[in-house]
C-alpha cells in the first residue's frame, strides 16, 4: 500500500515496516461492510498481513482519534522488557523509569487498536461479543519502534487475532497501585485555607486562550473566580460563558435576571436572605458552572453581599468528625423538587437520590445541597437518623466561617462551580436603588471536557480534578 503523506492529519511517522494507509480508499467498500458486520473472527484480519512474519502484522495503525497532544506529556513510554505470564492471562511491561504495569489479556483484546476492532471515528469500538472470551490467552508480544506493542491472542476456539496498541496509550492507562495512587491524587479536589477569590480581567478571558485557560484553572482548582471589568451590557454573561461551552438551558431560560420583583417565582427574586445552596438540584444534571454578572448594584443599597462556601471541604470535615452522619447522608435518598404550575413554563420536576454520593472506592464525588428544595421523604425507619445528620450538616454549613465573601460592584462577574461552591446572600433593602444581576449556567461535562483539552493543549497534560459530577473517576 502506498504511504500516505499525512499532511492533513499531522500523523506521526512510523517505522518503515508499518505503513499508514487510507484503507477505506484502497479497499473495496464491501470489505468494510464485511469487516464491520461480519460475525466471524476469520474475517477480521487486515488484508495486508504478511505470512512470512512470526505473526502477521497489521498494515495500518492509526491513533484513532487519540492525538499526539494526549501523549506528549506521557513520561517514559520507552520499555525495558515485556513478558507474558505462564497462563497467558496477563502481560507485564517493565518501563525504563522502573515503573511496572500489568495488563489482563481480556482487557488488552477489548482495547485492540486494529481497524476491525476500533472504528476510525474518535476511537469508537466495533468489538462484538465474541471478542469477550474469558479464556482468551496471549501468545505473542513484540515492540515495534518503541511506540507500538504488537500482540497476538488465541481465543478458546483456536482462532487467533493480531493487533497493535500504542505504548503511550497503555502507559496512561496503567492500573498498577503506583499509577492508581497518582491518578487518585491528580483527581482529588484541593482545598485552600485562604478564602481569597482569584481574579481575572474580562479582556484576557475573551481575547486569549491562555486567559481562558487561567480562568478555567481557577474554576477547576478552587471552584470560584471573579472576572473583573466586564462591560455593563446585556448579554455579556452569555458571551463569557460561551468561551467555554454553549449555555446550559434550565427552567429559568438560557440566561436569567436576579432582581427583586413582586410575586417572585423564586426566593432569589426577592430581597430576603438566601441560605447557602446550590441551584436547581432537581435536575438529573444540576447546573454546573454558574456565572453572575453584576449589571447594577447601587452603592447605597444596604446588604445584598454574597457568601460562597466550599461544601466539599465541609463534607470531608463531616466525614472525619462524624462518620456516622456522613454515612447516613450517603445512604438515605431524599427528593429535591420544584413544583410550580403558576408560571409561564409550568414545572413539576422531582429527583430523588442521596445528598452525598460516593464512588466505588468510597471517595466523595458529588453533593446535592439546597435546603429550600429538599422534601425529605425518607421512609420511616430512616427519617429520624436522617434529620439528625441533616441538621448537623446544615449547622456546619450555616456556621462555617471559612467562606468567600464578596460585595459585587458594577462590572464584576462572579463565576463559580455550582456543584461545589454554595452561594448565599444577605438580605437587602430594595426600597431605593437597584440590584440587578444577569446569570447563566454551563454543564459540568462540557466544562470538564474543555478543561481536559486545555490541560493537554496548553498545560502539562494532567488529569482534570473532580468537579463534583456524578462520575466515579
Amino acid at each position: 500500500m502506498k504511504r500516505d503523506n499525512g499532511a492533513d492529519r499531522k500523523r506521526r511517522r512510523l517505522g518503515s515496516r508499518l505503513r499508514l494507509a487510507r484503507c477505506k480508499k484502497r479497499l473495496p467498500q464491501k470489505f468494510w461492510l464485511v469487516a464491520f458486520c461480519a460475525r466471524s473472527s476469520k474475517g477480521r484480519r487486515c488484508r495486508s498481513q504478511s505470512k512470512n512474519a512470526v505473526w502477521s502484522r497489521p498494515a495500518c495503525i492509526r491513533h484513532h482519534g487519540y492525538p499526539k497532544q494526549q501523549f506528549r506529556h506521557v513520561k517514559s513510554p520507552r520499555v525495558s522488557s515485556i513478558d507474558i505470564s505462564e497462563d497467558g492471562k496477563s502481560l507485564n511491561i517493565f518501563w525504563e523509569d522502573e515503573h511496572k504495569s500489568q495488563f489482563h489479556a481480556i482487557w488488552l483484546r477489548h482495547n485492540c487498536h486494529c481497524p476491525s476492532c476500533r472504528l476510525d471515528h474518535n476511537g469508537m469500538k466495533s468489538s462484538i461479543a465474541e471478542d469477550i472470551d474469558l479464556d482468551i490467552r496471549l501468545i505473542g508480544a513484540e515492540i515495534e519502534d518503541n511506540e507500538i506493542l504488537l500482540l497476538r491472542w488465541q481465543h478458546s476456539n483456536g482462532h487467533t487475532h493480531d493487533g497493535p496498541i500504542p505504548l503511550a496509550w497503555l502507559r496512561i492507562r496503567c492500573r498498577s497501585p503506583a499509577a492508581e495512587a497518582e491518578r487518585t491524587q491528580a483527581r482529588a479536589m484541593v482545598f485552600h485555607e485562604d478564602k481569597v477569590i482569584p481574579e481575572i480581567e474580562y479582556e484576557d478571558v475573551i481575547n486569549s486562550d491562555l486567559g481562558l485557560y487561567e480562568w478555567m484553572c481557577h474554576l477547576g482548582d478552587r471552584g470560584i473566580c471573579l472576572v473583573k471589568n466586564c462591560p455593563l451590557v446585556d448579554g455579556t454573561v452569555a458571551k463569557v460563558a460561551e468561551r467555554i461551552a454553549p449555555l446550559q438551558h434550565t427552567i429559568y431560560g438560557e440566561t436569567f435576571e436576579v432582581k427583586s420583583m413582586p410575586q417572585p417565582i423564586n426566593a432569589a427574586y426577592s430581597p430576603v436572605s438566601l441560605a447557602s445552596h446550590m441551584d436547581q438540584i432537581m435536575y438529573e444534571c444540576a447546573p454546573g458552572l454558574q456565572l453572575l454578572h453584576c449589571l447594577q448594584f447601587d452603592s447605597y443599597i444596604v446588604g445584598g453581599e454574597n457568601t460562597f462556601t466550599d461544601i466539599f471541604e465541609l463534607a470531608h470535615q463531616l466525614r472525619e468528625e462524624r462518620p456516622d452522619y456522613f454515612d447516613t447522608l450517603t445512604r438515605v435518598p431524599v427528593t429535591m423538587s420544584t413544583i410550580h404550575y403558576n408560571r409561564d413554563y409550568p414545572v413539576h420536576m422531582t429527583c430523588k437520590r442521596p445528598m452525598l454520593a460516593l464512588n466505588g472506592n468510597g471517595e466523595l464525588i458529588t453533593i446535592y445541597w439546597h435546603p429550600m428544595l429538599a422534601e425529605i421523604d425518607a421512609v420511616e425507619e430512616n427519617i429520624e437518623p436522617f434529620f439528625e445528620a441533616y441538621k448537623h450538616f446544615y449547622l456546619m454549613v450555616q456556621n462555617s466561617q471559612s467562606v468567600y465573601k464578596l460585595r459585587m460592584v458594577d462590572g464584576d462577574m462572579i463565576t463559580f462551580n455550582n456543584r461545589r461552591v454554595l452561594h448565599g446572600r444577605a438580605p437587602y433593602c430594595n426600597q431605593r436603588g437597584l440590584r440587578l444581576f444577569q446569570g447563566t449556567y454551563l454543564e459540568l461535562s462540557e466544562f470538564q471536557s474543555r478543561l481536559q483539552v486545555f490541560h493537554n493543549l496548553y498545560g502539562d497534560g494532567r488529569l482534570a480534578s473532580r468537579v463534583g459530577m456524578a462520575d466515579w473517576q
Binding site: K24, L33, F36, C37, G65, P67, H104, I106, W107, L119, H121, N122, M124, K125, S126, S127, I128, A129, I132, L134, R173, Q248, H249, P262, N266, P271, Y283, E284, G303, P333, Y341, P346, V347, H348, M349, T350, K352, R353, G360, M372, L373, A378, V379, E380, I383, F387, K391, Y394, A426, P427, C429, E443, S445, E446, Q448, V453, M469, D471, W472, Q473
Partner: protein, 488 residues
C-alpha cells in the same frame, strides 16, 4: 394580587435609622391595601448578623389574610393541579403519639399515616416558613432536633394546625398549618410508598408494534400531545407520521415537550453519509450500527431522541432501524443471572468521546456503573453504548469479573428477539426514550440518499412535562420511571 409584607428595620442610618428604630413594625403593601388578620408574632432571623457598623436586620413575615386555608391559597401553596386528584384526605382521627415524636393520622379510607415531628416542622405551611412559591425557608439552626408536637387540631376540613415545642434551640414554640391534601399526598408510610412504586414501575409489552400519531395533531392539540407523552413514557417509543419535509419540523415537534437539549453535535444534528473518509461519528457512514444509546459520556445523557426522516430513497437496500428495550433486557438479566447483574451495578465502566480534530475539541469522559439500582433494589438506569466504552479502569481483581458480566449482558442484548423494527419513510419521525430504548441500524447501500435530522430533549424536562400532563389530564398518577438516575 400581591402579598403584603411585614418588615422590621433596625438600620443604623442616621435620621432614617432613628425614625425606623422608633417604629418597631412597618407594614408595606406592594400594590393595594388588604385588611390584616392577627399578625404573626415570631420572626426568625434568616441570617446571623454581621459585625459591620451598618447593621441591618430585615425580617420578613408574610401575612395571612382570613383563615389558614385562604392564606395558603393566596401564597400559591394550594397546588390545585395536584391536589384535585388526592382522595381520601378526610381525617378520621388525629393522635399525638410517642410523647410528641410522631403525629398519627387515621384517614377516612382507613389508611394510617405517621409523621415525624421534625418532618412536620420542616413542612410547616405558615407564612413565615413558606412565604414564596417553591422554596422552603425553615431555618434549622434555630430548631431543636428533638422538637415535639404538642398540639394538633383541625381548622376546618382541610387544614391541621400543629404546635411544636422545643427545649434547646432558639425557637421554643412554633405554630403553623399543614394541608391535609399535602399530608396525604406526601405520606411516606410503607403502604403509600409501595403504591407509588407500583405506579412508577416500567411495564414491558410482548407486542412490539410502534404506536403511531399524526404530526399535525401533535403540533396543534394538547390531547394528542398527551397521547404522545404517554407512548413515550409507558413504552418508550412512538412514530409520528406525515411530517412535512422541511428541516425545522423536528425542532418544532420537540419544543412541544421542552426546549431541545444541546450536545457536542449541536442543537440539531443530521445523520447522512459524509463525504469525509473519517467523519466525526460512525453514524455518518453506511455501516451497520449495533444497539446503543446516544452520548452516554454526558452526566445527563440525552433523554428523548427525535429523528425526522427527511430523505430515504426507496432504491436503497438496508438502513432499517431496530430498537430494544434495555430495561426489559436488564430485568431479564437480573432474574436469570443475578450475580452477574449485581456485578454490573457495582463495577463501573467508563464512557468517553475524545476527539481533538473537531472544530471544538471534545474530551468528555465519565465513569459509573452501567446499571444503577436504587435503595429498593429496583433498576432505575441502564446505560448502553458499546462503541463509546473507554478502557476499563478498575482494580485488577475486578477486571475478569466485569468482563464476565459484561460479555454475558452483551450477548443477551444482541440475541434479544423482542425488538421494534421500522424502516423510516420520508415524513416519518421516530421518537424514543434514549435512556430506555437502545437503537441500531442495518448497513445500507450506496445507491441513493438517506438523510435524517434529529434532536434531543433533557430527561428531567421530559419527566416534568409528563407529570404535569398526568395532573392536568391523567387523573394525577405518578409517571413511569424514564431511565434517569433518580431513585424514585
Amino acid at each position: 394580587m400581591l402579598v403584603p409584607i411585614l418588615c422590621t428595620f433596625r438600620a443604623k442610618l442616621g435620621a432614617l435609622g432613628k425614625t425606623c428604630c422608633k417604629m418597631r413594625t412597618i407594614i408595606f403593601y406592594c400594590r393595594r391595601l388588604t385588611p390584616l388578620s392577627t399578625p404573626r408574632l415570631y420572626s426568625p432571623d434568616f441570617h446571623s448578623s454581621s459585625t459591620d457598623e451598618k447593621e441591618l436586620k430585615v425580617d420578613i413575615i408574610a401575612e395571612v389574610s382570613g383563615s389558614h386555608l385562604e392564606g395558603i391559597k393566596k401564597r400559591g401553596f394550594y397546588l390545585d393541579d395536584i391536589y384535585q386528584h388526592v382522595k381520601g384526605d378526610g381525617v378520621k382521627d388525629l393522635k399525638i403519639v410517642e410523647d410528641g415524636k410522631h403525629l398519627q393520622i387515621t384517614w377516612e379510607d382507613g389508611h394510617v399515616s405517621r409523621f415525624y415531628s421534625m418532618w412536620l416542622r420542616h413542612n410547616c405551611h405558615c407564612g413565615v416558613c413558606l412565604p414564596h412559591t417553591s422554596t422552603v425557608l425553615v431555618n434549622f439552626s434555630k430548631i431543636d432536633e428533638n422538637i415535639k408536637v404538642t398540639s394538633a387540631k383541625m381548622d376546618g376540613d382541610n387544614v391541621i394546625v400543629i404546635g411544636w415545642t422545643g427545649e434547646t434551640g432558639e425557637e421554643k414554640y412554633h405554630e403553623g398549618p399543614l394541608l391535609t391534601k399535602f399530608l396525604r399526598y406526601h405520606c411516606y408510610s410503607d403502604a403509600a410508598d409501595k403504591q407509588r412504586r407500583e405506579q412508577r414501575a416500567m411495564r414491558f409489552y410482548d407486542d412490539k408494534t410502534i404506536p403511531e400519531l399524526e404530526y399535525k395533531d401533535v403540533i396543534s392539540s394538547d390531547e394528542a400531545l398527551y397521547k404522545w407523552l404517554l407512548a413515550l413514557s409507558e413504552r418508550g417509543i412512538c412514530l409520528i407520521k406525515n411530517v412535512p419535509s422541511e428541516k425545522e419540523h423536528v425542532l418544532k415537534a420537540a419544543e412541544r415537550i421542552a426546549p431541545v437539549q444541546h450536545t457536542i453535535y449541536g442543537n440539531t444534528f443530521e445523520v447522512e453519509t459524509s463525504p469525509d473518509p473519517i467523519p466525526e461519528n460512525a453514524a455518518h457512514t453506511r455501516i451497520g450500527l449495533d444497539l446503543h444509546m446516544d452520548q452516554i459520556h454526558y452526566e445527563s445523557p440525552p433523554g428523548l431522541q427525535l429523528l425526522h426522516c427527511v430523505k430515504f430513497d426507496e432504491c436503497i437496500q438496508g438502513g432499517e432501524n431496530f430498537f430494544v428495550d434495555m430495561h426489559e433486557v436488564a430485568q431479564k438479566f437480573k432474574e436469570e443471572e443475578p450475580e452477574l447483574f449485581y456485578t454490573l451495578t457495582r463495577i463501573p465502566s467508563t464512557a468517553n468521546t475524545v476527539d481533538y480534530k473537531r472544530a471544538r475539541p471534545a474530551h468528555v469522559r465519565i465513569q459509573r456503573p452501567l446499571i444503577t439500582i436504587n435503595h429498593k433494589d429496583e433498576i432505575v438506569s441502564v446505560l448502553w453504548q458499546p462503541m463509546l466504552i473507554a478502557p476499563l479502569q478498575v482494580p485488577e481483581k475486578d477486571v475478569e469479573a466485569f468482563y464476565k458480566a459484561y460479555g454475558k449482558f452483551y450477548s443477551l442484548v444482541h440475541t434479544y428477539k423482542s425488538m421494534y423494527v421500522h424502516r423510516l419513510r420520508p415524513g416519518d419521525m421516530i421518537s424514543f426514550n434514549n435512556r430506555r430504548i437502545s437503537h441500531g441500524r442495518r448497513a445500507y447501500t450506496d445507491n441513493g440518499h438517506r438523510l435524517l435530522q434529529g434532536c434531543y430533549i433533557n430527561a428531567s424536562e421530559f419527566q416534568s412535562k409528563v407529570q404535569m400532563f398526568h395532573n392536568k389530564y391523567g387523573g394525577g398518577k405518578w409517571p413511569v420511571r424514564n431511565g434517569a438516575i433518580d431513585w424514585q
